[in-house]
Structures are given as C-alpha cells and as structure tokens.
C-alpha cells in the first residue's frame, strides 16, 4: 500500500503544472521583451547623447577656431586661453598647421589625444582608461586682412579638440534606468496578476475534477458543475464526461438487471426441481406415483441444464469468443435446421415451408451456396431459435415460412409466422435478455427468454442486423441481414 502511495506521490511531484507553465512562459516572454527594449533604448540614448557631445565638441572647436582667428599674431605661435573661450576645463585641444607644426595647445593637454593626424573627423579614443571624443578639423584661417586690403592671408589650420565621455554612460543609465525599474515593477505586477488570473480561470476545471472524483462504481452519477458548462472550452469535456458516466451507468444497470434476471431464472428453475422432489416426498405414495414424481424432477432438471447452457452460450457470444470464426453456408444450415425442427412442428400442427430463394435479377447463378461470416454451429442455433420461436407462437394449422435471399450484396433470412403477433409496445424489447412478450405461456413451452437475445448476439457477431416486424393477430416476421463472408466475395469477384 505504502509503495503505491509513494509511487503516486512521485508521480504527483513529476506532474507539470499548467499554471506554472503558462506563468513561466508569459514572464519569460515579458523578460525578453524588457531586455530587448532596454538594449534598444540604451543604444538609442547613447546615439543621442553621443550626437549631443559631437555637436558640443564641434561648437567648442568652432569657438576655439574663432579664438585662433581673432589672434592678431599670424606667426608660429597662437596664444590660447581656455578661460577666455569658456570651454570645460577638462577638455583638451591643440591647433596645428598643415605641416603638423603645433601652433598652440590647451593647458595640461594629454599628448596622445591631441596628436596631429592628417584625417579630419570625429573619433572615440581611449586614454588612461577614460574615453574621449576627439575632433580633427581643418579650418581656413584668414589673417592680416587689413594689411592685404581686405582679402587677407589664407592659412589652413588643423584643430584637434578632445572632450571626455565620462558622464555620457552615467547619463545613459540614468535615462534608461527609469524604464528598467518601471519594467521590473510591471513584470512583478503582471506575474502576480497572471497567477491569480490563471487560478481563477482554472477554478471551473478544479470543480469539474472534484465532481468527477465523486464518481465511483457504486455512485455512477455525474453532473458537470454549471461553472464548467458555461465555459466554451470546458463544456465539451463536461458533456463528454456526463455522457460517458451515463453510458457506463446504463451498461452497469443492464448488467445488474441481467444478473438479477439470471439469478431469478436460476433460482426459480432450481426451486422447481426441489419442489417437485419435495412434493413427491410429502406423503407415502405408490411406486408409480414415486416414478412419476422422479420423472417430473428429471424433466425439471433438464430445464435447469438448458437454462445454464443458454446463459453460457449467451455469455460466450457476448464476449465475442468464437472458437472458429469461419464462414458457413446458410442454405445448407436452413435445410438441416428445418429437418431437425419438423417433428416438433408436426406435433404442434404447424407446417414448415421453405420459400424458394429470391435473388437479385442480375445475379447469374442460382443460390446453391451462400456463405455468411458466422460459425456453423452458431448459424444452426440462430435458425433453430427463430424457427422454434415461430412454431411456438403459431396456432395449429398455420404455416411458418423460411426464406433466404440475396439483396444488395447482403444475405437476408426471414422467418414468418401466422401467429398472434407481438404487441407494438413489446416490440422494442423482444431482443432483451429474459424478456417475454407474452405471459407465462412461453415458459410453458420451455422458453427461458433468451432465444431472441442469443439470435441477436449471433447476428451482431457476424456483423449483421436483426429486426422484427409484427402485426398483432396477423403474425410476425423476423428479418436477419448478414454480409457475405469474405471468401464468398472473393469467389464471386
């Protein structure tokens, strides 16, 4: 027992949770989105900030150039004072002529940053672990304008201007940080919300499971909770469960009914034997009376045997256990069966008549052999049951007709009597086990109420159908329709 529980618990722990999966999936998707958004916004922010730095650097380079322009001395040296130009103190710059001669630098300018280069443009450089944005730009310096009658001397100069990028990353993270924090808060919020939502959404499923849990072999009643039936997704499941439990209950009820009926029949049959023996022993009797009593008991015992044999046959047929699933010839089976029954029919004053086979017009050969997918023994039982039944319900002087036909590739067997017929209200039940359409008279003739059930089980085992048509007072017609056996079809094609 404990082992079973342990395995169940293990099984339980290895179960996957729908809620966990859904929540995990959604949160993961949200996280990916958030990371992507953060990366994009960092990239964007950096671009914007860098652009701003570039504009600022260009501006400062311009003002530096302005300062150089204003310098009266056109000579080799340019005097630059950062304080005059109002540029940040940590910026570094240098002015070169095109030959690479340095015209002037800022104070404490780091040499690698302001080194002369032939290429103009903006670039990012690294010095002592710090990043700098460095602008190289060539300008045309016009000097001595007054001396050269307004035209002036044109001296191109190269301006190198470097500004540290230290603050830019701080600014970027400050800008993006807001989104990051907001995103994380949102993520937490949505996780809680989704968990609550999923629990709520799955509540009807839990209710449905609880309702299903209450179903047991002894308690085969199930009605899906209204909550579950109101949900489009759960409604089919709920309805399917209800239909299944109802079907099971009906099947159980049928079995229960069968068991009850079988027990009743058996007990009655045994009671008959016992009472026959006891009546004989009730008082002292003559040897003839004793003999008569014993003969009656033997007859009664024969009925018990018949009943048991029929019940066992019924069980065998219903389980689908067939010794030899062979095809049998229905034409031969009808002849044999009619021969076997004719003494009984004669004693009842009933005439048995085999109607000439009716065949579809296109069928070329006359019906000499028609194979049906039913074992020979069962086929005999089927025909004998139907004909016996017809004879039992026929009055003396009437006719029981047996006909075989081939219609739409199916073999039809019909047994028609001119008896009292079956009341319309009884017609749907005549194939039920132990059902007797008429009262005790059927018992008087030895029937146990299984003949037609056995017939139906045999026919359905062969993939066929059996129906009864009856007009009270006019007679009954039993129509069996069976497919042709596979080998017979192979022969004809």
């Amino acid at each position: 027992m404990s082992e079973v529980f342990g395995r169940q618990r293990l099984h339980h722990s290895s179960q996957r949770s729908l809620v966990r999966q859904a929540v995990l999936g959604i949160v993961l998707a949200e996280l990916v989105c958030m990371v992507a958004l953060t990366c994009v916004s960092i990239w964007h922010e950096r671009r914007v900030r860098l652009h701003a730095v570039d504009v600022a650097v260009e501006g400062r380079a311009d003002s530096l150039f302005g300062a150089v322009q204003d310098e009266e001395d056109a000579g080799a040296h340019v005097q630059l004072d950062p304080r005059e130009m109002q540029v940040p103190a940590e910026d570094a710059f240098a002015v070169y002529d095109l030959d690479g001669r340095r015209l002037g630098t800022s104070l404490q300018a780091p040499e690698p940053l302001i080194a002369f280069s032939g290429q103009s443009g903006l670039r990012t450089e690294r010095w002592r672990g710090r990043q700098f944005r460095v602008l190289h730009r060539t300008n045309l310096r016009i000097i001595d304008r007054a001396e050269s009658s307004g035209v002036g001397l044109r001296r191109p100069v190269l301006i190198v201007y470097a500004t540290p990028l230290d603050g830019i990353w701080r600014d970027i993270f400050r800008g993006v940080g807001f989104y990051l924090v907001a995103g994380l808060l949102l993520l937490g919020g949505t996780t809680i919300f989704i968990v609550a939502l999923m629990r709520r959404v799955l509540q009807p499923l839990g209710k449905l499971a609880d309702a299903a849990k209450a179903v047991s072999p002894g308690q085969l009643h199930f009605s899906a909770p209204v909550q579950a039936l109101q949900l489009a997704e759960l409604r089919p499941l709920g309805l399917a469960l209800m239909a299944m439990v109802t079907g099971l209950r009906e099947a159980f009820d049928r079995e229960h009914q069968f068991l009850g009926d079988a027990a009743h029949e058996l007990k009655t049959a045994v009671a008959v034997v016992r009472s026959s023996l006891q009546v004989t022993l009730l008082r002292p009797r003559s040897p003839e009376e004793y003999r008569g009593g014993l003969q009656r008991a033997v007859q009664d015992n024969k009925r018990v045997e018949d009943l048991i044999a029929r019940m066992l046959l019924m069980a065998r047929l219903e389980e689908g256990v067939r010794g030899t699933q062979r095809a049998a010839d229905i034409v031969a089976a009808v002849s044999t069966s009619l021969e076997a029954i004719s003494p009984f029919a004669q004693s009842a004053g009933v005439q048995l008549m085999q109607v000439p086979p009716c065949v579809e017009p296109q069928a070329a050969s006359p019906l000499r052999c028609l194979l049906v997918p039913v074992a020979e023994e069962d086929l005999g039982i089927l025909i004998r049951n139907l004909v016996n039944n017809a004879v039992e319900h026929s009055g003396a002087g009437s006719i029981v007709r047996v006909a075989i036909g081939l219609l739409h590739q199916r073999i039809q067997l019909s047994v028609t009597d001119e008896g009292s017929g079956i009341p319309e209200e009884a017609l749907p039940y005549i194939f039920e086990r132990f059902y007797r359409a008429d009262s005790s008279r059927a018992r008087g003739t030895g029937g146990v109420g299984l003949g037609l059930s056995i017939a139906r089980a045999i026919v359905e085992g062969g993939g066929g159908t059996i129906v009864a048509r009856s007009r009270p007072g006019a007679g009954t017609e039993m129509i069996v329709s069976l497919p042709q056996a596979a080998e017979a079809q192979a022969e004809t094609h």
Partner: protein, 226 residues
C-alpha cells in the same frame, strides 16, 4: 381454508398448489400473472395468498399494494428470488406478512402459510379449543375430552374453519367459498352432508359441542351445555 398461489412458473405453481392441497389440505387456486391474481383475489374469499414477485403483466409488489389499498386483509406470503434485506423490509412494509426466498423448502412453506393464516385469525397456539373440543391444526387431529375423533379431511377442514370463529354463524356459501377451490364440484348440499356426518361423530364421543344449523343463515359451532 382457501389459498391463492400466484406464480408464473407453471411447474412451481403446480407443486406449491399440490403441496398445500396434500399437506394442510387447503383449497388452492393458481394465478399465473398479475392480472389473473387481482381478478381472483377480488372475486373469491381467500384465507391466505402465496405471491411470487416477478410476474408477467405487473409485479407481485403491485398486486400486493393494489389489493391492500382496496382493503384486502388476507395474509400474504411473498416468494422472491432476491434475498436482499432492503427488498425484504420494503415488502413487509408494503403489507406482506412473511416472505421466503427461492429455492425454498415446501415443508417450510406449508408451515409458514399455516402460521400466517392462524395469526390472521387471532390464534397464537397451533391448537384450537372450544369447550371440550380440541383441534391440532398441523397434525390434523381432533379430540373431545381427550378422546380422538376420526374426521375425514374435508370434515376436518370444515371444523377447523368453524373453530376459528366459534359461536359465529357461518353461511354455507362462505364455507364452500373458503373450503373448495375451482377444481371442486361443490354446492351447498355437499357441505350439508359433511356437517350432518360431523354432528353424528361429535355426538358419538359425547363432546358437548355441536354444529347448529340456523335455517336460512348457516352453521354455528356451539357448546350444547350453554
């Protein structure tokens, strides 16, 4: 006593009827289905009913409730194939007096039928007394002042019926209704003949009891000393 046996299995019905006729020498009628049972029960006066539960054209329980609702007080022994306690309780509550489950012992059935009839007539003892007269119902023995009186089966039945209701006038019709089933060719003359024989036998042993003939009304068991 006249008993109705309702049983759809012909052989079983036959055996039960035979046993009741041969054992306690009751008059027995047999009904094979619910409809027939109701008809017989309504038209004839029965002293007891043996009722099978599973019947064609309606269940035995329906027959029982139907007849009880019409005021039938006849004691009923139910025969059932199910020995389920719940069902038994249900049946007894519906108005059954006793039950037996199949297969049953015929001796026991006879004893139980006898017991329910006796109880329904207000007698607890299996022995009926009136004056010096004593009748052993089960043993078919009659004695007066301790001397055995030899009665024929029919005479015994008449005496038993009268002993259940001493001092009450019982009509010849009632007597023949309760003592003869449909298999008997009975008329009041038969009863008359039996009664005069019985009177003679009772006088012979000097029982001090006689069966009075009250003209136009019927018969009455009375102590001559009174």
């Amino acid at each position: 006593m006249r008993v109705l046996v309702v049983e759809d299995e012909p052989r079983l019905a036959e055996n039960v009827a035979r046993a009741l006729r041969e054992g306690p020498q009751y008059a027995v009628d047999v009904a094979f289905d619910a409809e027939e049972a109701c008809l017989l029960w309504e038209t004839c006066s029965y002293d007891g009913v043996v009722l099978d539960l599973m019947l064609p054209s309606g269940s035995g329980a329906e027959v029982l409730t139907g007849m009880r609702s019409k005021g039938a007080t006849t004691p009923v022994l139910v025969l059932t194939a199910v020995s389920d306690t719940r069902r038994v309780i249900e049946l007894l509550n519906l108005g059954a007096d006793d039950y037996m489950s199949k297969p049953f012992d015929l001796g026991e059935l006879i004893a139980r039928v006898r017991a329910i009839i006796r109880r329904s007539r207000g007698a607890c003892e299996p022995v009926l007394r009136y004056g010096s007269l004593l009748i052993h119902i089960a043993e078919h023995r009659v004695s007066a002042n301790g001397v055995r009186v030899e009665f024929s089966p029919t005479e015994h039945r008449i005496l038993e019926y009268l002993m259940f209701r001493p001092r009450v006038v019982v009509s010849a019709r009632e007597l023949s209704e309760h003592l003869f089933d449909f298999t008997w060719e009975s008329h009041s003359n038969v009863v008359e003949v039996h009664i005069s024989n019985m009177r003679r036998k009772l006088r012979q042993v000097d029982s001090g009891t006689t069966i009075e003939n009250i003209r136009g009304c019927g018969y009455r068991l009375r102590a001559t000393a009174e």
